[in-house]
Subunit: 412 residues, 2 copies
């Protein structure tokens, strides 16, 4: 390949510039979908897209596209690079923004190099990926992929009682394009890992081959409240103890399973929750994730079987409510291989991995070959002001994205 280099300086400057937009009085960063801060961030991004000479298109759900259609290229299908620029409340500056700005950086770099790609290249900033103000999350990419009707999305009512459609109109981002207007040839998303794996293993690049399936359940255990002093251990029907058995079972099962399988009990309430009363009731959530649908189902089945045995051995009644279920996403194997080769060619230590969090890429994978590139998150921290990725890794990730794009759209 010709040696063409992106501008690390420009990429990092933009990342920090965008990260300064939407700070509240106490310095906390929040740009929630279609609020005033989001508008300011969008305006900033659109300015850069124009500066880069890209065609700017906004669709009806507010997704922003910066499209480079080289003269003479007839293909309609674009190589799409994307992510989001909305944030959680009290966010870091990397989540989402890093992917969008790197996509822009790659396109600007290629455009300046004089090389002519075989097809259009576009960068997308999808609306409401975080889902903090409006549900569901990953909304803009879901609408783009045809998984949610645009009218339904625009009718979403926010936590503040607002309607997304009204708010998009108010901030000037209710665009004219029908969602899905831009047909992707493939989709690539560069993102911070938001987990600790790459840092712990001393790696710079993750080639994300799968996105974990998610199973959320709420378990209710009904035992019998009784006096903590007068009820012998063998006669207890302790809902709290039964819940503890489930928690240790899930930990042991997930540890025994393949590495990417995780199981979490994050929320638990006891009743009556008194020091000297045996718990009559325990309500807790179970979050199971696995990149393999078969394994995820096995984990669900094993939990169900354990709960049945437990109900008998502990003399309790157990009911389960399903809260959410998403099948795992397999990213495009050829794209993942291309990412690995690109990383290797640059000398970056890389591994295949699974994403534990949800991303716009999982929606795009419904309609086009997709994959993700991860860079390390220090201590795995994200959705937090302490979210941090060293500059050397940010640059490495953008360089890999650049090389993968070149591989995909330049004539060999």
């Amino acid at each position: 390949m010709n040696t063409i280099a992106l501008s690390a300086e420009r990429l990092l400057a933009r990342l920090h510039h965008l990260g300064a937009i939407g700070r509240t009085g106490d310095g906390r960063l929040s740009r929630l979908a279609a609020d005033d801060a989001d508008k300011a961030g969008r305006d900033c991004l659109v300015g850069w897209l124009h500066e880069a000479g890209l065609e700017v298109a906004i669709d009806r759900v507010g997704n922003i596209f910066g499209i480079w259609r080289p003269v003479g290229v007839e293909s309609e299908e674009a190589l799409l690079l994307g992510s989001h620029i909305d944030t959680v409340i009290d966010a870091g500056i990397y989540d989402g923004c890093y992917g969008v700005l790197s996509g822009l950086e790659v396109i600007e770099t290629l455009k300046a190099s004089g090389l002519c790609p075989l097809r259009p290249i576009a960068v997308a900033a999808f609306t409401n990926e975080e889902g903090v103000r409006y549900a569901p999350d990953m909304m803009g990419s879901l609408v783009h992929a045809g998984g949610l009707g645009v009218e339904q999305a625009l009718a979403a009512i926010g936590t503040d009682g607002t309607r997304l459609g009204d708010e998009l109109r108010r901030i000037g981002y209710a665009g004219a394009q029908e969602p899905g207007f831009l047909k992707p040839h493939a989709y690539l998303e560069l993102h911070i890992e938001q987990g600790p794996v790459l840092e712990r293993e001393g790696l710079s690049i993750g080639a994300v081959a799968t996105l974990q399936g998610i199973s959320w359940q709420r378990v209710t255990i009904e035992g019998v409240a009784n006096h903590a002093g007068t009820t012998p251990m063998a006669m207890r029907r302790d809902a709290g103890h039964a819940a503890a058995r489930v928690i240790t079972f899930l930990r042991e099962s997930a540890l025994a399973a393949n590495m990417p399988a995780v199981a979490t009990v994050g929320s638990l309430q006891l009743e009556p929750n008194a020091i000297n009363v045996i718990p009559a009731r325990a309500v807790f959530t179970v979050d199971l994730r696995d990149p393999d649908e078969l394994h995820l189902r096995e984990a669900e089945t094993a939990l169900a079987a354990f709960l049945e045995t437990l109900a008998q051995s502990e003399g309790v009644t157990i009911s389960v409510e399903r809260l959410a279920r998403f099948e795992p996403v397999m990213f495009d194997a050829a794209l993942v291989g291309t990412i690995e080769r690109a990383a290797a060619a640059r000398g970056y230590a890389c591994r295949r991995m699974s994403s534990g969090a949800g991303h716009d890429a999982q929606m795009m994978a419904r309609i086009t070959p997709s994959a993700m590139i991860f860079v390390p998150s220090i201590a795995g921290i994200s959705h937090n002001p302490r979210e941090f990725t060293p500059e050397v890794d940010l640059i490495a990730g953008a360089c890999v994205l650049l090389d993968v794009v070149r591989d995909l759209v330049l004539p060999t």
Copy 2:
């Protein structure tokens, strides 16, 4: 022994009569220390004491005594039979009242029999055993035993902002006697078990040899909050899982220990308590009880050692706060033996046992030989309208009390 028989009919009628006093509009029974309902219950009891021809004495903390001093008996020390008539909120009719009314029944029966005891016999209803309105519980007997100053007790501020001393004066039960004025020769308390042991084992009588020591601790485990999807199992510092390990450890340890040992985690809070966040913090209570001080200390030591190991293996920080600690009470072995013999002579199935709950008897044990007689509580339920002891068992308990009293105070 001469065959003298108590009046089961009178005892049961009084129990139901007293149990009808203090019902709220919705039928729930509540007679909290020194409230209007308690006054009505006290007035009823005092009426019966007078009817029985007993000397009625009220001390400064409101304890009520009905004393039979047979003519010609010179001993000052009385055989004291007692319990309490205050209740919890939404109570059953047996807890406490059964012991007081049985004591009265035994004295009336002996008085009517023409037999002359060697010393006075008295029945006591101690103030504020339940501790629902004023702390501490078992207050009246504690003051009687010299464990709490009368001024301090009277200064207690209730959950409703009232002062116990004011309320006792208001209801006419701020008596003139100095607490402890009546010197006991021995103390006997007949009580419902409030636990399931006697019923499960098909026994009528429990000879209570010990009252469990209590150790209350609050444990705080600090882990690290992290994304439930992106944090591999082996890298977690999950405060909730560590808490679950403690709960199962306590259960297994208590099961492996001697039967009366119990361990309960009744209260637990997780933070941030979100479905998709690994718990950063778990705060829970530990209630350990054992009738043997040495075993209770061993249980505390074993827990401390487990927490230390756990902190290392789970990568969490654990701190422990002591909330309460009461040493076990050993009741008088001779009295316990007398109870067992009395039960056997009547043909009642009986066992030695430990009380898991606190009782006035534990305060009296500080100053005089004491013991308790238990009768079954169906399903172990107490502090609840469903509290129930079959009449046949109520009568059996009162008969055993009668025989033990005869054994202690009649010339052989």
